[in-house]
């Protein structure tokens, strides 16, 4: 219990400092932070619609946090969650459009296909880092910029041609037999339950299986791992495969959740502007970091960030203040020393 508390404290401190900095920002822009936060939480939790939005955000946030933190455990930076989501989502859509199947099999096959392509994209960076020494941070980010136009291309010239769309191509309508089952009372699919189960599974996988152990061993020290007979290169690629598959799963969830086919076009808009970094892939990184790279923690920080995101969607254009706040929270999370120093301000030596 004490151990858990000690792990949680830096995250809480970073969150509070981030919220504080965000409040200062809002105040500087002439907004009353209390009103904004009230509107935010009320918008996210006060209405059925808001709650459904929280559940929808939650599923992708948790999965993308895992997509970042599992490769992270092997010491490889998967900043490409965003691109893997795009590729996974578009693959799911393509399967739905071109391969009609019986009712349960249809979404299942689409989801599996999405996992495979997401994993494939991540593996490119994994292989380049492990065997060619090319930093995965750079290649995953570059592949984000490749994945987006590529999936836009498929969307506008393959999918939109064959599927009915409404509201001037703003929404793609998929047959309901191909979408994931919805949960009662909410306008959300079962995806968030899957995400939570996957997070628990990931915790078990990392702690209790030999592959999970190998992944952590490589992350702690590739040299020592090698002396134990583990091949760090293979492990890194495997970790990236798993991460990419989870990001692909998140993409499929976005596209195939009931009533969220709309997400497809909304998210694949062909302009690069406005919000590459505001995308869910980068929110997933924030979620993972605040969770201190713990899969179970990712569930809780995922809930927190989805409340923020769903709330801002209801507040309107102030959403960008929240992005700025996310960035600040991440910077604070990057400083484990800072949080501990904040807690014993009376210490003799500051910032050794």
């Amino acid at each position: 219990m004490v151990r858990v508390l000690r792990g949680v404290v830096p995250s809480i401190v970073a969150l509070l400092l981030g919220l504080l900095a965000g409040s200062v920002l809002m105040w500087a822009f002439g907004l009353n932070p209390f009103n904004v936060f009230y509107a935010l939480f009320d918008g996210a939790l006060g209405t059925r619609y808001g709650q459904s939005t929280v559940l929808t955000y939650m599923s992708s946030y948790i999965l993308l946090a895992l997509a970042f933190l599992i490769p992270g455990k092997a010491g490889i930076w998967n900043v490409g969650g965003q691109g893997q989501v795009f590729i996974g989502g578009i693959t799911a859509a393509l399967v739905v459009v071109f391969i009609p199947m019986p009712i349960i099999l249809w979404p299942l096959v689409a989801v599996i296909a999405a996992c495979i392509t997401g994993a494939g994209l991540a593996a490119v960076s994994g292989i380049l880092e492990a065997y060619r020494n090319a930093s995965a941070i750079v290649t995953t980010i570059m592949l984000n910029y490749v994945a987006q136009p590529f999936s836009s291309l498929l969307l506008y010239y393959v999918i939109v041609e064959r599927v009915p769309t409404v509201a001037q191509n703003q929404y793609v309508v998929f047959p309901s037999a191909a979408t994931l089952p919805a949960i009662p009372f909410f306008n959300a699919s079962i995806m968030f339950i899957i995400a939570i189960l996957v997070a628990i599974g990931a915790k078990y996988f990392l702690q209790r299986t030999s592959l999970g152990y190998n992944i952590r061993a490589v992350g702690m020290g590739p040299k020592q791992a090698e002396s134990k007979g583990i091949n760090p290169k293979t492990i890194k690629v495997i970790a990236m495969l798993i991460g990419g598959a989870l990001a692909g799963l998140a993409g499929a969830g976005d596209v195939l959740s009931a009533g969220h086919g709309c997400y497809l076009v909304a998210c694949y808009q062909d302009n690069f502007a406005a919000g590459w970094f505001g995308g869910e892939g980068f929110a997933g990184i924030a979620v993972a970091l605040v969770a201190a790279n713990d899969p179970i923690g990712a569930i809780f920080s995922g809930i927190f960030f989805s409340i923020l995101a769903a709330g801002t969607a209801s507040v309107g254009q102030n959403i960008y203040v929240v992005w700025a706040m996310q960035g600040i929270i991440i910077v604070f999370m990057a400083a484990p020393y800072l949080s501990t120093k904040v807690l014993n301000l009376g210490g003799k030596k500051r910032w050794t």
Partner: protein, 301 residues
């Protein structure tokens, strides 16, 4: 072909100047993944400073905007390097944080300041000279910063290779412990080097708003910062090779403007520069050796 060269050179300006800044930073052992965010913040400040000066003081010079952008770059990199050198924040995580912060922040600020998404900048840098007659009714402006782009790699080479401070920078990037033993102040050197790099990142970011696009739009950098980062890596932390890589990547970005494609081709052209970057990194990285202490925090014992 001539068109591609000119457009490529125009694009290479941002990439090359930013890469030079990042090169100085990385030589001192600080890995600034936040390069994209810093450039974005500078791009915004350059436009905002111009805007504010015009509103309150009177006719502004684009060079004042450029100064504003560079100062923002210095300030951002100073804060970043202080965080990493003094309180040992994880450089990669903090860099990712800066990037996300910058997108949100500049968006909010541009809504606040200009109440619209795109901010037209009335006065841009004067052309050094114009290139006309390349194709029908197209005159291309050669920016004074293009001159800077060509001169800078030499200066960076001389600075890092021949000056005492440059030697100190390389020393703390390779072996901070030995540098400290030789009486070099590691933390101070890293902060100074990173701030100096920040001035160049600021210049590169400002070029986008006060010269190339003549306006600020959210996410105006669109990954150019990361391409510059890749140019440094693929150039093997060598000013000359980095410049070469910047020209290559700049040309592939310039392709977008030369082949003003519509339809499916547009999307293929758009992904081309990033794809080239991945391929070049994949080919070149194997034999390259980064500064030994890159991204490692230094703790005094």
């Amino acid at each position: 072909m001539v068109l591609l060269v000119v457009f490529g050179l125009q694009q290479a300006i941002t990439i090359s100047i930013a890469a030079d800044g990042e090169l100085i930073t990385e030589k001192s052992g600080v890995l600034n993944i936040g390069i994209e965010g810093v450039m974005l913040l500078s791009a915004f400040s350059a436009a905002a400073v111009n805007f504010e000066v015009e509103r309150f003081v009177g006719p502004s010079s684009p060079y004042i905007g450029l100064m504003g952008g560079m100062l923002t770059g210095v300030a951002a990199n100073f804060i970043f390097s202080t965080l990493s050198a003094k309180i040992h924040v994880d450089q990669v995580i903090a860099g990712i944080g800066i990037n996300i912060f910058a997108v949100g922040m500049t968006y909010v600020m541009s809504q606040k300041y200009f109440e619209i998404d795109g901010t037209p900048v009335s006065n841009s840098l004067p052309a050094l000279f114009n290139v006309g007659g390349l194709s029908s009714s197209l005159t291309l402006k050669i920016s004074p910063l293009m001159l800077v782009m060509f001169v800078l790699p030499f200066l960076v080479y001389l600075f890092l290779g021949k000056t005492k401070f440059g030697l100190h920078i390389r020393a703390v990037g390779e072996n901070p412990k030995a540098a400290e033993a030789a009486g070099i102040k590691v933390v101070r050197t890293r902060i100074l080097a990173t701030s100096l790099g920040g001035a160049l990142l600021g210049m590169a970011g400002s070029y986008l708003t006060i010269d190339f696009f003549n306006q600020f739009t959210p996410d105006i950098t669109a990954g150019i910062g990361f391409i510059a980062l890749a140019a440094v890596i693929a150039g093997g932390w060598n000013p000359a090779y980095t410049f070469g890589m910047s020209l290559l990547f700049g040309t592939s970005v310039g392709l977008i403007y030369v082949v003003s494609a519509t339809g499916p081709l547009f999307y293929l052209i758009t992904m081309f520069p990033y794809l080239i970057t991945v391929v070049v990194l994949g080919i070149a990285s194997k034999r390259l050796r980064p500064p030994s202490a890159l991204a490692l925090p230094y703790r005094k014992e």
